[in-house]
């Protein structure tokens, strides 16, 4: 019998605010333990939270981007449980009155079709700290670092509209590119800026009732998510086919061993005793506020894609690739602005730049070549100073830091294209003089086939010029000289 998978995602997105959601401590990643945990973050007695406006602004931007209702009156609640990385003994979160209501996100599938994934809601909450299990401290103990405690999050909760890991990944990537485009999250997955909890159940195809689900928590890469889903779906089907039943549980995926297990700390059913936080009053955002946020919204990937087609005459395919990642789109536009050639810019970014980044596992923001430098390379191609082939050498030189602009590298390496007709004519003469057999063949050949025979001579000339000869001029001179011989 055929099985069907039902997946819902809960996505934790760290907001790119300068400070915590309820305190003025910095959210900068990578500080020494507990140096960015102030008295409020440590839940010292008598301290009180004050909510950060920027966190609300970012959450509203997300809501507007997915066409959701904005919770104009949102309420913080206390979710009570004990854990060492949760200093107050409760997490301040939202439950009945979240900041973002229902919306949806459209994903594109491998076959090019689209599917809408409904968003149930998105709420604001505070992140917890971290428990470290090994380090410079006593064995058998855990070390608690509360720097992350209080970092603002939006938790985006999808409906169970996702049918497989491909869709889950497409959805996750779409969210990733959206929050980066909005500028509300730095998108640094390896630093935990975006984390996924995956709710998975399986059922027989055609069955109405949902199967018992499990939740695999805290996945911080698309790849791990894909692996974890595959593993869990397989596990559930195995269990059910062996006549067993699925236990509702929280699971942890270990990316090193590619295994998962139930979390021990979550085994007992928790009673979180939510209630409205008396230290924080309801947050009321009026229409004027929401309108002002709407005015300041950056261009979203979908709109940008269309603009790339309209403004730069890119193909829909190229436009989609270049607009999906905001940093790439920015890089592209900065390049075009300086070299005035969208097509060449697109080709170079999707070609050479992207290949080199992939090979070195870098993102566009880590590219050693900036848009100005790339535009410099393209400009020299356009004015015939260098050929495409030489351009690749110049690009390599820039990548390796051998010079800070295309021109300095061209100058230093003497790569400038030879366009001096006198010099080129003597080069052509020399090649003709040294190619007796080929010249004879050329003379004997059917005139219609002669153009195809030019390649040999061009190749020889380019070789002799170390690739620096202007190919168009070579062609012209060569045809002229050969015609004189025939």
């Amino acid at each position: 019998m055929e099985w069907e998978t039902v997946i819902g995602l809960e996505v934790h997105v760290q907001l790119a605010t300068k400070t915590k959601i309820f305190s003025g401590a910095s959210t900068q990643f990578g500080a020494a333990p507990n140096t960015q945990a102030c008295a409020i973050d440590l839940a010292m007695p008598g301290t009180l939270p004050v909510a950060n406006e920027q966190a609300f602004r970012y959450a509203v931007m997300f809501g507007l981007a997915i066409d959701a209702d904005i919770g104009q009156r949102s309420v913080f609640e206390r979710k009570n449980y004990f854990y060492p990385d949760l200093p107050k003994g409760y997490q301040t979160t939202q439950l009945d009155a979240p900041i973002v209501g229902a919306g949806q996100i459209e994903i594109t599938l491998a076959d090019g079709s689209t599917k809408a994934i409904r968003i149930h809601h998105a709420h604001l909450e505070e992140d917890a700290g971290k428990s470290l299990h090994e380090g410079d401290f006593e064995q058998g103990m855990s070390g608690i670092d509360l720097n992350r405690a209080g970092t603002p999050l939006i938790e985006i909760v999808s409906e169970p509209d996702i049918s497989n890991s491909d869709e889950a990944v497409a959805f996750a990537k779409k969210l990733h590119s959206l929050v980066i485009a909005l500028g509300i999250c730095d998108g640094e997955m390896s630093q935990g800026s975006m984390r996924f909890d995956v709710n998975i159940s399986v059922r027989h195809k055609g069955e109405e009732k949902l199967g018992t689900r499990t939740e695999t928590k805290n996945l911080n890469s698309f790849k791990f998510m894909e692996e974890a889903i595959a593993l869990e779906v397989e596990r559930q089907i195995d269990v059910l086919e062996d006549g067993g039943s699925i236990r509702q549980e929280t699971r942890l995926y270990n990316a090193d061993t590619k295994t998962a297990r139930a979390m021990r700390s979550k085994e007992e059913a928790n009673d979180y005793r939510y209630f409205p936080c008396p230290d924080l009053l309801p947050v009321v955002l009026d229409d004027a506020y929401i309108d002002s946020v709407r005015q300041q919204m950056p261009e979203l990937p979908i709109a940008r894609c269309q603009r790339f087609v309209d403004e730069y005459a890119l193909s829909a395919y190229d436009a989609a690739i270049l607009s999906d990642n905001t940093h790439i789109a920015n890089y592209f536009e900065a390049t075009v602005k300086q070299c005035n050639d969208a097509k060449l810019s697109a080709n170079w970014i999707m070609g050479e730049v992207s290949a080199r980044l992939n090979a070195e596992e870098k993102t566009i923001t880590q590219s050693p070549i900036n848009p100005t430098q790339l535009a410099g390379v393209i400009a020299r191609i356009k004015d015939n100073s260098i050929s495409n082939k030489i351009a690749k050498q110049v690009f390599d030189g820039l990548w390796l830091g051998e010079g800070d602009s295309a021109d300095t590298i061209i100058e230093a390496k003497g790569l400038k294209q030879v366009s001096d007709s006198g010099a080129l004519e003597s080069m052509v003469d020399e090649v003709i003089a040294n190619s007796g057999a080929q010249i004879e063949n050329y003379k004997k050949a059917d005139p219609e086939k002669r153009p195809k025979m030019l390649g040999y001579f061009v190749g020889q000339i380019m070789k002799a010029s170390k690739g620096q000869a202007n190919p168009k001029m070579i062609n012209d001179i060569l045809i002229k000289k050969l015609n004189e011989l025939v």
Binding site: L42, G46, Y90, L281
Partner: protein, 494 residues
Amino acid sequence: MHHYTIAELMKSLRNKEFSSVELTQHYLERIKQLDSQFNSYITVSSEQALLSAQQADQALAKGNASDLCGIPIAHKDLFCTQGTLTSCGSKMLSNFVPPYNATIVENLANAGAVSLGKTNMDEFAMGSSNESSFYGASKNPWNIDCVPGGSSGGSAAAVAAQLAVATTGSDTGGSIRQPASFCGLTGLKPTYGRVSRWGMVAYASSLDQAGPIARTAEDAAIMLNAMASFDDKDSTSVDIEKSDYKASLNDSIKGLRIGVPEEYFQDGLDNDVATLVNAALAEYEKMGATLHPISLPHTHLAIPAYYVIAPAEASANLSRFDGVRYGHRCDDPKDLMDLYKRSREEGFGDEVKRRILVGAYALSAGYYDAYYRKAQQVRRLIKQDFVDAFTQVDVIAGPVVPNPAFGIGEKSTNPVSMYLEDIYTLPTNLAGLCGISLPCGLSSDNKPVGLQLTGNYFAEAKLLNVAHQFQQHTDHHKKTAPISNASNKLNSNQ
């Protein structure tokens, strides 16, 4: 000099009858000699106090000192004091020295007040007798076999025993007004949001409010002038213009409409209390006020609503005391669960544990609607009673507590009997209004009895005016506790 009020000391200090250092030394000496009887202080900060007094003397000499400059006060031990133990009367925090000040501590220090130390209290402000303190019960200076009330029991006992001119307290369900009543003092609970809660260890966040305990309404006004402030560190503090609470003290109260709720004079009210409160009301009539019978029909629901809401909030507020970052930690925890459970078992006293459990119950799945939500609905009904009443009257008057101070041990074994003490004070907190307790005479067995006035939102100036006018016409507030010989000796040395 310990007989003086703040208002009197202000003059003496400016007339150079004595310096703030001399005054502070005198108080420190009294505390040393007398407080073993009353146990009103948990910590006495002699050095710090004398240092502040020296600074105050310098400011006084320059002639630009504010009202409280050089005046010795003390803080309830739930206000965080940088560098000084802040125990909340609990073993849990018996080792806690905050690295920051509560806003009111800061405000009073900025006004030049000299802090003598930290006063005893019911553990985490949960109690009406001061008997739940880890540091032992505080005693009522009027009768050391009786409780001083609670939870600000030490703050009241210290002022009544003249071991501080005035003190700070906090009032979640009556914790300023009830001890003020038991100790013959004037205690003000401001409107919720009037005074910052930053640095005040939370019991029930939506009910807690700090206020002064003093000898007179005038002194309370001087204290509140310094304490009240909008604070951007407390989201629930209110950004409205602050009055000068002294300015209107002498306004006439002719034509003042006093509401007298029938529900506050029914079964359970002690005869002496009823007599004295009625006499005070009659005095007001003589002063030109008019009395208006009113009804606050949901009064009887205040106790059940409060004893759901306050424990619910407390159960979450006290979760941070987990033995991880500060406070008591049990020895040799065998695992994380043991660390939590034993640290909290050892660190909290019985009443605190009871309220945490009740709070957890009221919020737990299946009971939330019946208890917590219901209590918050009832709270609105209680508030509405007051809103309706204040369309007809300017202030509401009645008893503070059904009875004068009770004996130590009398109610401590039966928590419910203790809770019933709060019937007249809780509604003010639930509604978020301001209230004041002022002395209106002594019972037949020589215990102070208080009159409670409840004011509309942010009507502290009105309450203080009405209380001050009473004190201009009566001398109940001038009666002092009969303190043993030791104090007389000090007096003669003065």
